[in-house]
Symmetry: C2
Subunit: 407 residues, 2 copies
């Protein structure tokens, strides 16, 4: 199959399985400039599903970098409120949302970490209303990858540019099931597997998860009334979509004060343009008390210092060590892939959709779920990892052994 | 001088002479995808002027065409309200605005005129708040050209693609004074000439203008308390900018019921993707009563039928027959150029900045200025054109003879 045909199939998966655009529903896409040919395929697919209007907000990476180089430093805290607020309004009025994520890992090389953090924080504040709508599954939305030249070069540093781009697209098409005979049917089947896993965990309502191997021993307390999410999500508007393409994970919300122990992150974290390698973190009463890394520690520490919730956990996701993503053997340096290649934790904001409504105590709608302007994923899963579910009475149920599900 | 240096000079003219971006002022740019290198120069220049944030809303021409081809026809009336409303919000809160106009004359070839009109009307309604802010000079804004391949091919149909693009850029750089020793100083001098012309007309307060040559005899009644505009404008926010780069015109607002006679348009009108050639129009009591054209009459008639004001005049602009633009000898098929190459009329919306406040009759703030969702320019000026100013007592003052100013 030629490249355009595969790209068109990926656009169909995004629109039909990912967002599941409904007749009469506007679609708002964000994408980098270099993805315009893909966006055009997405728009065609959405129009064929009955969307009246597809709007793409194109990101220009060069403009992002130039602001750091040419704007007055004091202006980096200036919040781009209007850019995000109207998108939130449109979503609240019924639009669907698609994020085409094209990473530019070398974009901010040489820019000081504290400047990057300031811009990230201003954007996070400005986009708060939008993030709240998607995180709480108020609307149908999805995120999907796009191979940029910059990203391909990072994943395949030894290949010439065009070959690296081709090789990364091959991997993306493989893990997004585009090369299956019927990609949408393959997704339906995969989503059923994730549903069975999430329902098995959901019915147990473990008090905590203990993750352990030779280098990690971490107990993550879960909130009372947590919800496991994975595969499809039925949003509050009634539309069933798949928020991440690809996805292999089931995940839920820790209690913000319930994590104890230490964890070694098995893969680098790609944060604000920097790589954090071999990160090791200790927790007490839910809070980071110490951190070490071979590289990028300053970026990690600057980010988790940006508010109190950034020092605490907002997500734990479980992923089998063998999956379409981990079978590629690649490190993608992208949360959308790597968090689906291995079990992971996230510092910062919880997904409010992971918290069941609590009729008995309306004064604590969050039930201890974490609050932050940030959400930073880090992978700790690997072939040696074990996970136990610990019930309220101390009973232990094996969930994963040697990196694979046993529940 | 190489192309990048000239493009950078044009960006400087846009930012400093056109918009006149102020320290602390956000800049919102609209541009086609293919103009991204130019937008990056604009952003650098704006950041150097102290702007805290430059945001570009990129237009993707292919998405515009694909909507006509793939969306359900009924959805063409769907107004993209949020897309425009958020920009209006930002402008009302202090941002400046720059439109990078890159024409795509062949974009909508084969699409039915009535469909195009429906989409235009929906956009005009949705962008009403923004248009009101710019038309009334509430904020500093500017429009500037960008040479697309599609446009270059239209202007130079006999040249190969790359040569056509080069030739049109040469013309654009010439008329935007980029090749002057000091482009911004050349603009300051030119703007002083336009200021002298507009003040001479302003002080006369003619009751009407009579435009006549062998094929045209049209009397355009002006509103009481009209204002002539040309060169720089001091917006309500106190910032002095130049709304069009290039500009050669002085213009004001007719009374919506005050036009009598007939006019032959000396250049084609480029409307909604179609060309209207050899247009001839008759007026009675301000209203179009008959129209003829060699080509494109259906598009013109569909547009002026879209509301009552679209059948009436909202602008008359006077331009000498010899100017940097007309000296190129080119037909640009773009209002930004052609309306500055020759005297012109516009059907539809008046510029509210052309109406002086009327303290004696607050019930008629518009004083008979025209209202419409549309604004369609057409050129009638040529080497044979004469214009007289007619005062309230019938006294006649020659303004232009044989295409040139004599006032």
């Amino acid at each position: 199959m030629d490249f355009q045909a595969r790209l068109s199939r990926l656009a169909n998966v995004c629109v039909k399985v990912g967002v599941n655009v409904q007749p009469g529903q506007e679609l708002i896409v964000t994408a980098p400039l270099e993805a315009s040919a893909f966006v055009q395929q997405i728009a065609r697919s959405a129009y064929q599903c009955g969307s009246p209007l597809v709007t793409c907000l194109y990101d220009d990476p060069q403009l992002i970098r130039d602001r750091f180089e040419f704007a007055d430093e004091v202006s980096l805290d200036h919040p781009p409120t209007w850019v995000y607020q109207r998108v939130a309004d449109a979503l609240a009025q019924g639009a669907a949302r698609l994020y085409v994520a094209g990473p530019y890992p070398d974009l901010l090389t040489g820019i000081a970490a504290d400047k990057i953090v300031r811009v990230h924080r201003a954007i996070a504040l400005a986009s708060n209303a939008e993030s709240a709508l998607t995180a709480a599954s108020r609307i149908n939305w999805s995120a999907v990858p796009f191979v940029t030249r910059s990203w391909a070069k990072q994943v395949f540093p030894d290949l010439p540019g065009d070959e690296a781009v081709r090789a990364l697209w091959d991997a993306v098409f493989e893990v997004t099931r585009v090369d299956s005979a019927d990609p949408c049917a393959a997704w339906d089947e995969h989503n059923l597997t994730l549903k069975a896993r999430r329902e098995a965990l959901q019915s147990r309502q473990f008090a905590a998860l203990r993750c352990f191997d030779g280098r990690t021993d971490l107990t993550v307390g879960l909130i009372d009334g947590h919800r496991w999410i994975g595969g499809t999500v039925v949003a509050a508007n009634g539309v069933e979509g798949t928020c991440n393409i690809p996805t292999e994970e089931v995940f839920t919300s820790p209690h913000s004060a319930g994590t104890e122990g230490h964890v070694h992150f098995s893969r680098p974290l790609a944060l604000a343009g920097a790589l954090v390698e071999n990160l090791y973190v200790e927790f007490r009463e839910g809070r980071v008390t110490a951190a070490k890394a071979d590289r990028g520690l300053d970026t990690f520490e600057a980010l988790i210092a940006s508010d109190e919730g950034a020092r605490r956990l907002g997500e734990i996701g479980l992923v089998p060590n063998r999956s379409k993503i981990s079978d590629t053997g690649l490190l993608f340096y992208s949360a959308l892939f790597d968090e689906n290649a291995a079990s992971h934790l996230a510092f910062g904001q919880s997904y409010s959709a992971c918290v069941l409504p609590d009729a008995s105590d309306p004064s604590r709608p969050d039930r201890g779920a974490n609050q932050s302007a940030l959400h930073i994923d880090g992978m700790f899963g690997q072939a040696s990892m074990n996970v136990d579910g610990v019930s309220r009475d101390g009973h232990v149920t094996p969930i994963m052994r040697g990196g694979d599900f046993v529940i």
